[in-house]
Structures are given as C-alpha cells and as structure tokens.
C-alpha cells in the first residue's frame, strides 16, 4: 500500500529548492508550506487538486507574463523591453487581426487593421525585429496565434536558428488551440479537420525536435470571454485538451511523448471563489482522465500547468481606474488557485490597447500580490475549506455532465465530439445563450457592475490619454513588406511554395520542415497561408444569433 499523501508530498517537498525569503507572517508566525491532515489531498501528489508541484510558490513564484503587441515589430520590441525593465519575466505576443488570419499587411482585407490590436508580422524580417536584443534563453515567450500557428512557429524557429540557437534549445509556448477558435474566438481560416492536421504536425514536430517547447496552450480564456459560464469554460477547455490527446495518439505518438508539453490557459474572472474552485477541479479532472482514459504513466502528463489572465470582459469603460481593483481581485484568485503564470489586464483596456503606464500598473499589481501580501507562502490555502471543497466538487460534477454530452456526440470520441459540436454550432449556441443570460441579469440589475449599472457618479469625468495606433504605422508596415518582397530571391520563394503545396496534399507529411524552409526564403505569412488554403479550402461559419 502506498504511503499517505502527506508522506509522498513530504518526500517531494524535501527534494525541492526554496526561495530565499522568510516563510512567516508579517508578525513573525512561521508558516508551513501546506496545511491539512496526512490522508488529505496534497500538492504535487495525484490527482494534483491542490497544485501540480509539492513546493508551489516556495520554489518559484508564478511567471509574470505580460501580453503585448501593437503597431510594427519595432514598436512591440520597445514595449517588450520596457516590460522586462519593469520586472516582467515572461513575454506573450499579441498579433494583429491580419496576422491572426494569416493575411499580409498589404492584403485588401487588412485595410485599417494593421497593427491595431496586436503586432503585424508578415515575414522572417518582422520576426527578427520583434525579438531583437531580447535574450530568448532567459525570457520565455508565448505566441498567441492559432490558424497560422504552424507558419508562425516556423518563422520563430527560423529566426532563432539565424541567431545560432538550435531547435532543441528553444523554449516557449504556442497557443495553437484551433478548436476554441471555432467555438469562441472565431479567428479561423481552414476547415476544422485540415486545421487539426496542422496542430498534429506541430505536436509531432516539437515532440521530436523541440523538447523545451509547449506545443498547445489549451485555452478556456476566450471561451469565457465570449460569454460561457465557469463550468462551461472548464468543460469545453478540457474536452478540447482530450481531443488533442486523441489526435496525437491517432498519429501514432505515445501519450507520454507529448502530453507533458501541453499546457492550459484559463480566465481569472471576478467571482473569486468560483474561479479558485474551477482551477482545482481542472487539475483533478485532467489527472484522472490522463491516467485512466488515456493511459499516461509519466506524472508530468497528468500534472496540469496553466497560465491565467484576468477577465477583459469584466472591465468597464466607465471610471476606468476602478478596473485596477477588479484586476487585483481576479489576479489574487489566479494565485490562490495555483497558476503557473499570469497576465494582468490594464485599466484602460475597455477603451483601447494599454498605454505603457497602464501596463506597468497592471504588472505592479502582480508584484504587490507576490511580494507584499505573503499569500504565496502556503500552497492551496483554501484546501480543506468545506465551502471550497464542495464548490470544487460541484464544478467537477457540472463539467462531467458536459463531457458526457460531448462524448455522446462523438460516439465515444472526444475528438469527434468536439468537431461535431463545432459543425452543429453546439458550443457556439451554448456560449451565446450563457452570454445573453449574463446580459439579461445585468440589464435587470441582478448583476451589479459598478459604474455601469450602479454607482454612476463620476462617470462624467474624463480619463487621461489612451494609446493611439496611427495609419502611419500601417503604412510603415506596408513599406517594410514591399522591401522584403523586393529583396528576396523569387525563384526560391516559388520553389518553397511549390514544395509546401505538394506536401500539404499528402495528409501523412509533416509540414513543419517545409514551413521552416519557406520562412528562411522570406515567403510571407500570407503566401504560406494562401498556398495551404489552395489545398485545404476555407471554413465559413453559418451565421446564427
């Protein structure tokens, strides 16, 4: 018989390293790394409800990973450097709408969208500018991109290889979660099955050649922002995760060869306890399904690690300074729920992309939680609370009902269930229904939003400067793209595109090597995507309200 969870935890905790800070309250009361009876769940011990690691933040605080991107690659590179100077220790790249849809900045559909809500990346030249002067060995990078995830990863690899960093040494995260695009975020390009082939290619390629890379960041954030409930966010996200596991296993990969590099991304919304319960339930469900349904044997395949971002939809345009408070409460929930990295939104994001000052205050909010409040000393401080344990169980029960529905849609396959649910607008309809219910409660005054439907005094006061993206930046980016097209070797471009089309037509081929070669030849993102589109076709959603 295995020892009590506490014994297992103790052994793991004993072999972990600790940060050099006093683990005590402000008044000097010493604090244990975790509290609870010996036979209770413990962090770092299956099913990991209380955290993936035994020592949690005693070994390492969460990564303060700030999401940024606007204008040209040079503009965003400056903001990245400012974040690092201010003490941020991770980067996450926001791309503009044309890049998210795999269009070049000079495409007619890109008019007015270039660099507006993220950075414009057209070719290897932009990727090089984006990370110029940033040590990618010490700062990990996440790239929030999905439909063109494989081509953008290829450009990132090409850029790193140029600077002499071998593939095996490149660390970072690619969002690459296409299923939630059809369900919620809606930046899709190819039909679901063709898109899933690209996801498969990234998982297989990185598992073989990029051991430090996180191949998919399975994202509930956008599902929640689109209006789902917390239980729907939890269940849809994990169902998508199971779908990727089934996809990779169908491609012949052993579950333990890729699952340790899957990570998650959840929303940190304003309902404090429900969010913490959601994270706890997510870890427990993932661990059980990975072991029991998918046969994982490596513990790392069962240990859910996640990034969190505070809820953009909870912010108000009225009295924007109040958003600092909302973000602080949400960030605290993410930390008490055991997140591995965190982005905090800025107070002005219901109006525009954040100014440098607003983004700095958002980072400072994390630093206050990390260094002033002592909340990071004890793992899962709510563990054992009757309320929190019951709420965690209830989240798990509600998610279970949703898994049953998806599994039934797929005839015993979560992969097929997710695809069928997308094709039949099942996910989209549920999310829209939940969003409308929240809106009804807001309009009825049952759900109070300070400054929006109550406590309106002060709404008439103006707010300071917001970030303006100019048409000049769009023109600068087009000029940059013109010069790339002029200076490259057209024969190499044609050859690379021919090879890409040829390999895309072979469903067994892995497209990553062809995409990396195309990146080196300065084939643009729009060209790669239109070449693939010629083979894959395009997805259109049947509009429904």
């Amino acid at each position: 018989m295995a020892g009590a969870p506490k014994d297992e935890w103790q052994e793991r905790y004993g072999s972990s390293r600790q940060r050099d800070v006093p683990f005590a309250t402000m008044s000097g009361i010493p604090l244990e790394p975790v509290y609870g009876p010996a036979d209770a769940e413990h962090p770092g011990v299956f099913p990991y409800t209380r955290g993936p690691y035994a020592s949690m933040y005693r070994s390492k605080l969460w990564t303060m990973r700030m999401f940024a991107g606007f204008g040209t690659a040079e503009d965003t590179n400056e903001r990245f450097k400012e974040i690092i100077r201010a003490g941020g220790d991770g980067l996450s790249t926001a791309f503009d709408m044309p890049t998210l849809l795999g269009l070049d900045s000079d495409d007619p559909m890109s008019l007015g969208e270039v660099g507006r809500c993220g950075v414009a990346i057209d070719s290897l030249a932009d990727m090089r500018d984006l990370f110029s002067g940033i040590d990618l060995g010490s700062i990990t990078t996440s790239m929030t991109i999905n439909s063109p995830a494989a081509p953008v990863l290829a450009m990132f690899v090409a850029q790193a290889e140029e600077t002499g960093i071998p593939r095996r040494a490149i660390g970072g995260t690619l969002q690459n979660d296409i299923l939630k695009e059809y369900q919620a975020q809606k930046e899709f390009v190819f039909p679901p099955r063709q898109s899933m082939r690209l996801v498969r290619d990234v998982i297989a390629f990185t598992a073989a050649e990029m051991p430090r890379w996180h191949s998919v960041s399975i994202s509930g954030y956008h599902i929640r922002e689109a209006g789902s409930t917390a239980a729907e966010e939890l269940a849809f996200t994990l169902a998508n995760g199971f779908a990727y596991v089934e996809l990779a296993r169908q491609a012949g990969l052993d579950v333990d060869a890729f699952a340790p590099r899957l990570s998650f991304f959840f929303n940190a919304h304003i309902d404090f306890f429900e969010e913490i319960a959601k994270y706890r339930a997510a870890r427990r469900i993932w661990a059980r399904w990975m072991r029991d349904r998918y046969g994982a044997r490596d513990e790392r395949s069962m240990q859910m690690r996640f990034h969190a971002q505070t809820a953009g939809v909870s912010l108000t345009a009225q009295q924007p300074e109040v958003n600092i408070v909302r973000t602080a409460v949400e960030a605290l929930a993410a930390v008490l729920g055991g997140t591995q990295s965190l982005h905090t939104n800025s107070m002005d994001e219901a109006l525009a992309l954040p100014t440098e000052k607003a983004a700095r205050i958002a980072l400072r909010t994390q630093q206050v939680i990390a260094h002033e409040t002592n909340v990071a000393h004890v793992a899962d401080p709510f563990g054992g609370s009757w309320f929190m344990e019951e709420l965690t169980d209830e989240m798990e029960r509600r998610a279970g009902e949703i898994f049953d529905a998806i599994d039934a849609m797929g005839g015993g396959s979560m992969l097929e269930g997710c695809i069928k649910g997308i094709e039949e607008n099942w996910f989209q309809g549920r999310i829209a229904d939940s969003a409308y219910e929240l809106e009804r409660a807001f309009n009825a005054g049952e759900r109070v939003v300070v400054g929006a439907n109550r406590f309106l005094e002060g709404n008439e006061e103006g707010f300071g400067d917001i970030l303006r993206i100019t048409q000049e930046q769009e023109e600068r980016q087009r000029a940059r793209l013109d010069s790339v097209r002029r200076d490259r070797d057209d024969a190499k471009v044609a050859e690379a595109r021919d090879r890409l089309a040829f390999e895309a037509a072979d469903p067994e081929a892995n497209l990553m090597p062809a995409l990396i070669d195309a990146s080196h030849a300065y084939v643009t993102l729009g060209e790669m995507m239109s070449t693939l589109g010629g083979v894959f076709g395009r997805h259109t959603e049947v509009p429904s309200i």
Binding site: C117, Q318, L351, A435, Y436, G451, T540, P543
Partner: protein, 127 residues
C-alpha cells in the same frame, strides 16, 4: 411594420459576443434582425442592407479598425443611393465617436451600453 435591422461584422475581427447580444436584444424588443456573419466588407454589408430593405445597419467593432471601416460602410451605402442610417457599437473611444458622427455615422454605442440604450438608439435613428 416592425423595424428591420441588419447587424454586421465588417473586417477581420471575430469577436461576436457583443453583436449576438445586440441582435437578441433588438429581436426581443420586437424588431426583425438579420445577422451577416463574420468577415464582411463595406460592399457586402451595403449590398445586403439594400437587398434586405432594412431600416438601419448596426456595426459591431472591437479591433480598432472602426475609424477606417465604419466610414467606408456609410460611403458604400451612399454610393448606392441609400440613406440607411449606420449605428456603430463596440470599443470606441469618445474622441473617435465624434469623428465617426462627422463621417456620417448616425450614432455610436460604447462599451457598457444597456439594452435600453441599444433599443432606444436604434429607434431614434430610424424615426
């Protein structure tokens, strides 16, 4: 005759939470609502508005492209000889709202607009 509204997503922005809520809100207020779906151009929106003989066009925008695209929708309608009013809603800073109105946009609804504000704004531009 109920008011007929075309709600549209123009450009590359996939954020459709707001437009679906607005569509349902207007429908629940007794209006006939047609949703274009995502990724429309100013021309496809103007053509659909005229073909469907709507009383008002509603655009929902989050991506920051409103200053470029909303005036182009107004122009596409006027070029076709239509006077259908255009209402824009979404992440629109105050100073942009003034400029949009001078570019021919009939009304602007910012973030946090209540259902009542949405319905009364649409009613006011149709009259």
């Amino acid at each position: 005759m109920p008011t007929r509204v075309l709600v549209a997503k123009v450009g590359l922005d996939g954020h459709d939470r707001g437009i679906k809520i607005v569509a349902r809100t207007l429908r629940d207020a007794g209006m006939e609502v047609i949703y274009t779906g995502l990724f429309q151009t100013p021309d496809t929106v103007a053509s659909a508005a005229i073909d469907e003989d709507v009383d008002v066009v509603g655009l929902s925008m989050l991506s920051g492209a409103h200053m470029t695209l909303a005036p182009l929708v107004v122009k596409a309608l006027r070029d076709r000889g239509s006077e259908i009013p255009v209402v824009v809603g979404g992440i629109i800073p105050d100073q942009d709202a003034d400029e949009l109105r001078s570019a021919g946009v009939a009304a602007v609804l910012g973030p946090g607009a209540t259902a009542h504000a949405v319905v009364s704004t649409v009613e006011s531009v149709v009259r």
